[in-house]
């Protein structure tokens, strides 16, 4: 039996991969002028990044403000249109691969049900005039799923799933604590039974004691529902706790990526090392013995990034060959699954985290 290849060949994707991003680029115009807004330049928020998220696992994009992690998340969800690159998604090994950038019609509708987001600020992301029931049921209404009573049943089920009770259904966001609000945000994200959830700093607006509750809930839900998470965060201890894989971003590029334990115990990129060495640890003894790598200077402007390696203006590693300014370092695999974009990858000294 022969199969006819259509001219636009079905994009292929390993069945274990839920989301695959290749060469993603997103630019934003810089405008000037108060009456006539002219574009005077471009900021490349994301400059060609590649990563895969394995089905049922958590992949974290970590980096400081302006590194492009949130823009990447928004591109993945189709909330902003990328300028280049491909984003492929497959809900389950039996489903077809969806090309998020070109999808339309039923493919796009499927994708929008399958991929959901939980935002950082739970209060700002919930409509203050709606009740919890209305908020959680809204995705069902939008996608015309069920009738009033079946939706109400589903809302009850979802509230229970996220650790709330039916008596919360009639309340409004302002009547809930921060942790409860975030639970509502999670229930809403799960209403359509998605397979991929983008978690954009889901605990950074919460108090420390409440963060732990939400992190535990997210890991329970992942296990129960087989969810795939794309986790966006700047807090390294949170990232360490939740991730299977980690990609470290700096000024729009991935500088290091790999399995969590590899990146955290054997970081090779000077930026990853600096980031880990600067993260505060709640242990006075460790704090006293470890050495911090203090980066000099400030983050360069993303509208005018340094040539070659974007980290070179703050990098503590000497560049004898003058390679860093002239050549953009590409991600090279230093050990299986561990990729580093650096001309002078470092060994792990005692300067790093596990002193």
């Amino acid at each position: 039996m022969t199969t006819l290849q259509s001219p636009t060949a079905e994009p292929s994707l390993d069945p274990d991969i839920a989301l695959s991003v290749r060469g993603l680029v997103k630019r934003f115009p810089v405008k000037e002028g108060s009456f006539v807004r002219r574009t005077v330049g471009w900021v490349e928020a994301v400059s060609g990044i590649d990563f895969d998220v394995r089905r049922g696992t958590t992949m974290s994009l970590v980096g400081e403000s302006g590194c492009g992690k949130s823009t990447t998340a928004r591109c993945v969800l189709g909330l902003v249109a990328p300028d280049a690159g491909s984003i492929l998604f497959r809900a389950s090994p039996d489903d077809e691969v969806v090309d998020v950038r070109t999808a339309n019609g039923s493919d796009l509708r499927t994708f929008r049900r399958q991929a959901q987001i939980v935002f950082q600020d739970p209060f700002a992301s919930l409509n203050p005039r709606m009740t919890v029931e209305q908020i959680v049921a809204e995705p069902l209404v939008v996608h015309r799923i069920g009738n009033r009573s079946s939706r109400s049943e589903r809302v009850r089920e979802l509230l229970e799933l996220v650790g709330l009770t039916p008596r919360h259904a009639a309340r409004r966001p302002a009547q809930l604590s921060g942790g409860q609000q975030q639970r509502v945000g999670i229930a809403r994200a799960l209403a359509l039974d998605p397979s991929l959830v983008v978690l954009d700093e889901p605990v950074s607006a919460l108090d420390v004691s409440v963060q732990a509750q939400i992190l535990n809930l997210l890991s329970d839900l992942q296990e129960r529902l087989g969810l795939t998470y794309l986790f966006i965060a700047h807090d390294l201890s949170v990232v360490h706790h939740v991730s299977d894989d980690v990609a470290v971003m700096y000024l729009g590029r991935i500088v290091e990526q790999g399995p969590r334990d590899t990146v955290f115990t054997r970081p090779r990129h000077p930026y990853t090392q600096a980031l880990l060495s600067a993260a505060p640890v709640p242990d006075p003894e460790t704090e006293r013995v470890r050495t911090r790598i203090i980066l000099e200077g400030d983050l360069p402007s993303p509208s005018n990034p340094p040539s070659g390696c974007r980290f070179r203006t703050r990098c503590p590693v000497p560049d004898a060959e003058q390679l860093c300014a002239s050549e953009v370092p590409t991600l090279r695999e230093l050990e299986p699954g561990h990729r580093v974009a650096c001309h002078h990858p470092q060994e792990v000294g005692d300067s790093v985290f596990f002193a």
Partner: protein, 332 residues
């Protein structure tokens, strides 16, 4: 016993809201030795910032300090009028806020602002003041300090702005620096840079630092003593090593358990504190932590615990501090 630099007794601060009276700081007492580094940790609404603002006379209506004393160099700050206080603020006590823009005026250059502050507190000519200001900027590693004096705040990056604020705070060599989440708005790598700079300069000048943070990590690295606040109350005050090794109050322990440690096995389930901090409009009777505490008994629901000495310099406000301390140690 050395004379404390700052001695706060029974401080009470309230906020009048439409819903009722919020007791933001409720009978808080502590002291600070010259040159000491004190960390104050608590979640939002615990009263840590309100404590600092009360001491500095920066509580504005609908808030008010309704009781207590704050002795500084033999004078009660809470009994002073605004004029006396403004003499002390900026000269003897410097305060650094989370958002550097609260300290900087966007319509004046950095230089103008620094010169004005200097000339208010010190007898200097404009030219001398400008020189001192340029040196202060150089101390916080701002490149081309003399030229940057003519720039406006918006021309600096976030990390640089906070460094400028630190330069301003340290210009008059204060003996106490109150830093209210000075690096919370900054990125991790900038945070380390700013913190090192601030504490290095404080040490050089022998200034005491009261560092307010929501993060037990930042405090672990930089403070000698830590006090923990919960719902307007001081629940524990301990030397830093004791606090992290053997937390005396169940809340302190809960806080330590609920942060994920980078070093520890990542897949461990976090032990979280159930529930949420109480509303200060209707705080729970007895111990304010009892609704979330694993060890609470009837006594805790009825009677508010007094600070209990655990020996050394440890004070813990828990009825069972003495019994729990070893248990907590075993459990860890």
């Amino acid at each position: 016993m050395e004379q404390p630099l700052l001695d706060v007794r029974h401080l009470r601060t309230v906020f009048m809201t439409d819903a009722g009276l919020v007791r933001a700081v409720d009978d808080v007492s502590f002291d600070l030795r010259p040159g000491e580094r004190l960390g104050v940790v608590g979640e939002s609404g615990s009263g840590k910032s309100a404590t600092a603002k009360s001491i500095m006379g920066l509580i504005e209506p609908p808030g008010a300090v309704i009781g207590g004393e704050a002795w500084f160099n033999g004078r009660d700050l809470l009994a002073m009028d605004e004029e006396e206080l403004s003499q002390i603020r900026g000269r003897d006590i410097a305060i650094i806020f989370q958002d550097p823009m609260t300290a900087l005026d966007p319509v004046f250059t950095i230089g103008d602002q620094m010169v004005e502050t200097l000339r208010t507190h010190r007898d200097l000519t404009r030219r001398q003041a400008r020189e001192v200001a340029a040196q202060a900027l150089a101390d916080v590693h701002i490149p081309n300090p003399s030229r940057r004096l003519d720039d406006y705040p918006h021309q600096f990056s976030g990390g640089m702005r906070q460094r400028v604020v630190i330069a301003m705070a340290l210009m008059c060599s204060p003996s106490l620096i109150i830093a209210d989440e000075p690096t919370t708005a900054l990125d991790v790598t900038t945070q380390a840079q700013v913190m090192d700079l601030m504490l290095g300069l404080a040490d050089e000048r022998g200034a005491a630092v009261m560092l307010i943070a929501h993060d037990l990590g930042v405090v672990a690295g930089f403070c000698e003593t830590v006090q923990v606040m919960y719902a307007g109350k001081l629940v524990e005050r301990s030397p830093v090593d004791d606090l992290y090794r053997q937390p005396g109050h169940p809340y302190t322990r809960g806080l330590l358990d609920s942060v994920s440690h980078l070093g520890a096995g990542g897949d461990r389930r976090l032990r979280s504190i159930p529930g949420a901090p109480p509303s200060l409009l209707h705080p729970p009777r007895g111990c304010r932590f009892h609704p979330r505490c694993d060890y609470a008994v009837d006594l805790c629901r009825e009677l508010e615990p007094e600070p209990l000495s655990l020996g050394g310099e440890r004070l813990v406000s828990c009825h069972f501090a003495k019994d729990l301390a070893p248990t907590l140690e075993d459990a860890r």
